[in-house]
């Protein structure tokens, strides 16, 4: 038995972690009991309180040595359950609070309970608070089983959001999502059972002292990783994501895309970096990054071929999830352990900037949809004039996601690129750059349609409340200026990384993805462009015509492959294959 580590004592301010869970949960209970007429009021009371708690954690954390601990019921682990927060938790708590806040402002006009249609607002606000509580639990829980319960809480809150409008397609999407997510959580639970059987505890801190390269542990790690990948929708386990994220109401899509997939990703980070940093081995990490690369290629190419804006953004989420997994091989040090905090910081920053930017983009598209009554990309001409704020929010979010300085994405990319140089894995640098170009491609594609002049003025069919656009814009700006924040008390971001964000060097780094992205957009998007009749365009087409035809053929091939992979049985087989491959590579490493 180990001597009780200092982490097994409640620290001052640890009660904030309890409050970060209890406040949203109390909001759920209260909103449910008070009923339809008061849900919005309850939510609008809980949201600022939750935000204040997240800020308080941010303030307190550096003062208490970077760690907050709370022993629930004053029972120390392994018997009891501890809540713990470190820099990662604090950053994620704050991101979640900010995004939820913006979505709540955005949704306040949408989900206003009227006398007749009280159902959707009732469900939406309760589920929003429940997602918040579940995510906060995920960020601060120190026990693998508590994490399982939180994961299920998250699923149960997310699934009904998908089918809120009750159409058959969204019901089908929700059912697929639920079943696949359940499969994922059962795999996770299986690993938990094995770990308890081997070590007699599920506490992350205690496990990290006890784990060794036992065959059972490796099996458990492979199963849990696969389960979490299924919940994160990493390629090729993404069958549920596009229909679910594209079918939900805009506010719900924003939450699902920005935050919900990050929950299981965060548990995966905890599992690999905190529970067993020495076990997975480089091969398994390369496998994860390879799947991430697949996600970037499939997600981006299929996104460029979408006709509907919401589906385009859903596929972009798929690609961005792939981007998050590039950090795993880069975090390996010379000793074969996951030890580079810099790569971890880069991955987490990417998650944060994607959360803010993607939520803003989904919200902006929601406004465009309400305004136009459709979200066909080819029908976007002139929308920049009709809905300037919505398009601006989309543009700023897109630019932040592309990695334009000083966005969080650019800082994340800088950190990861430094680690590719450090570890000599140049191929991931190529993928990182290509990912940036693909992101640019679909953002440029949408913006070029939106900014194209229209022959006749657009008539808006729905109202466009200012508060919605402002919420989206604020979130997008947040993402754009993330790179300027003082990260060093929470994440190990070296000072020189931030200073490189400006200057000639930075400008060249900006131009490359923009030009590459524009080229990719021209080559891979099958839709006729509004400028298509101009002379310059025709001249260009004469030059690149054959190349473009080839690229379009490649694109349709990828799209067909994506359709096959999104069949239920194909996805299930991929799931089992991934888990066996992970197990094999982990065994090879030990």
């Amino acid at each position: 038995m180990l001597p009780p580590a200092p982490a097994l004592v409640t620290t001052a301010g640890g009660f904030l972690l309890v409050l970060s869970i209890v406040v949203p949960v109390a909001g759920v209970l209260l909103a449910f009991a008070l009923g339809e007429r008061y849900v919005r009021q309850v939510a609008s009371t809980v949201v600022p309180v939750g935000l204040a708690i997240a800020v308080a954690v941010l303030v307190l954390l550096p003062r208490s040595d970077g760690h907050l601990v709370y022993l629930l019921g004053a029972w120390p682990p392994p018997l009891g359950v501890a809540l713990r927060a470190d820099g990662l938790s604090a950053v994620m708590l704050a991101t979640t609070a900010v995004v939820i806040c913006a979505v709540a402002i955005f949704a306040a006009t949408d989900f206003r309970p009227q006398s007749v249609e009280a159902r959707a607002p009732f469900a939406f606000w309760i589920l929003l608070l429940a997602i918040w509580g579940a995510l906060n639990t995920i960020f601060v829980a120190g026990d693998l089983f508590t994490l399982y319960v939180a994961l299920e809480l998250l699923t149960f809150a997310a699934v009904p959001l998908v089918s809120l409008d009750g159409r058959a397609e969204t019901l089908r999407a929700a059912l697929r999502y639920l079943l696949f997510a359940l499969l994922g959580s059962v795999l996770y639970l299986m690993g938990t059972a094995l770990l308890y059987g081997i070590y007699g505890t599920l506490d992350i801190e205690l496990l990290s002292h006890r784990v060794s390269a036992d065959s059972g542990v490796l099996i458990a790690a492979a199963l849990m990783t696969t389960g979490l990948l299924a919940k994160t929708a990493l390629f090729p386990l993404h069958l549920w994501l596009p229909p679910a994220h594209a079918g939900a109401p805009a506010a719900a899509s924003a939450i699902l895309s920005a935050l919900v997939v990050k929950g299981s990703f965060f548990i995966l980070v905890r599992l690999w970096f905190d529970v067993m940093p020495g076990l997975p081995g480089l091969a398994a990490a390369q496998l994860l990054a390879a799947l991430g690369t697949g996600a970037i290629v499939f997600g981006s190419v299929v996104a460029l071929r979408q006709e509907r804006l919401k589906l385009l953004i859903a596929y972009s989420t798929l690609a961005q999830i792939g981007y998050l997994f590039l950090m795993f091989p880069l975090a390996f040090g010379a000793s074969g352990k996951l030890e580079s905090d810099q790569a971890l910081a880069g991955g987490l920053l990417q998650a944060v900037s994607h959360a803010t930017a993607k939520a803003a983009m989904f919200m902006a598209v929601g406004s465009i949809y309400t305004g136009l009554g459709h979200d066909r990309i080819t029908g976007l001409r002139g929308v920049a004039r009709a809905l300037p704020l919505s398009v601006l929010a989309f543009a700023v979010g897109g630019i932040a996601l592309m990695g334009v300085q000083p966005s969080g994405a650019s800082l994340a990319k800088e950190l990861l690129l430094q680690d590719t140089a450090r570890t000599g894995q140049w191929w991931w640098a190529v993928v990182l750059q290509a990912g940036g170009m693909f992101t640019t491609a679909y953002v440029v594609l949408v913006l070029s349609h939106a900014f194209a002049p229209s022959d006749q003025p657009i008539t808006l069919i729905g109202p466009a409340p200012l508060s919605r656009d402002l919420a989206a814009l604020a979130l997008a700006l947040c993402s754009l200026f993330l790179g300027l924040l003082p990260w060093d008390s929470y994440l190990p971001v070296p000072y020189d990384a931030t200073s490189k964000l400006f200057g000639i060097d930075a400008l060249s780094k900006l131009l490359l993805p923009v030009l590459g992205g524009a080229a990719l957009a021209i080559l891979l998007s099958p839709w006729p462009h509004p400028l298509g009749s101009s002379a310059a365009w025709k001249a260009l087409m004469r030059v690149v015509g054959p190349l473009r035809r080839g690229c379009l053929g490649f694109g349709s091939l990828i799209e067909r492959g994506d359709e096959v992979l999104r069949q239920w049985s194909a996805a299930g087989i991929s799931l089992l294959l991934v888990s066996l491959l992970l197990a094999a590579s982990m065994f090879a490493a030990n």
Binding site: V149, E152, P160, A168, L171, L179, A193
Partner: protein
């Protein structure tokens, strides 16, 4: 052979059968049943682990038992939610297929509405 071995193999087999059923059975209801089978296999795994940890006068470590009780209730709620979604889907669409392509064909206007 002890009870742990016998039921341990039984649990592993239930997991395998559940995984297969979840992947290969086309009807959603069968998938839900397979999920329950899979879940019960995993719960049995906890039972084996707890049985091996019998000590202090208990024939089974109480902690995994408590985890299983929590897990059973969660699995039941999941089943109920999945069934409700399935029945609603059947009520609206008249079929229960999860295959998006087969289902999307009757209504394929580009806006999706």
């Amino acid at each position: 052979m002890s009870a742990v071995t016998v039921f341990g193999l039984c649990a592993a087999a239930a997991v395998g059968l559940g995984l297969y059923g979840l992947i290969a059975n086309p009807q959603p209801l069968r998938k839900i049943i397979a999920f329950n089978l899979l879940g019960s296999g995993v719960f049995l795994l906890f039972g084996i682990v707890g049985r091996r940890g019998a000590a202090a006068g208990f024939g089974n470590d109480p902690v995994p038992q408590a985890l299983v009780i929590t897990g059973v209730v969660v699995a039941f709620s999941a089943t109920a939610l999945a069934i409700a979604l399935l029945l609603r889907l059947f009520q609206i669409a008249g079929s229960t297929t999860l295959n998006s392509r087969a289902a999307a064909s009757p209504r394929s206007d580009p806006s999706g509405h």
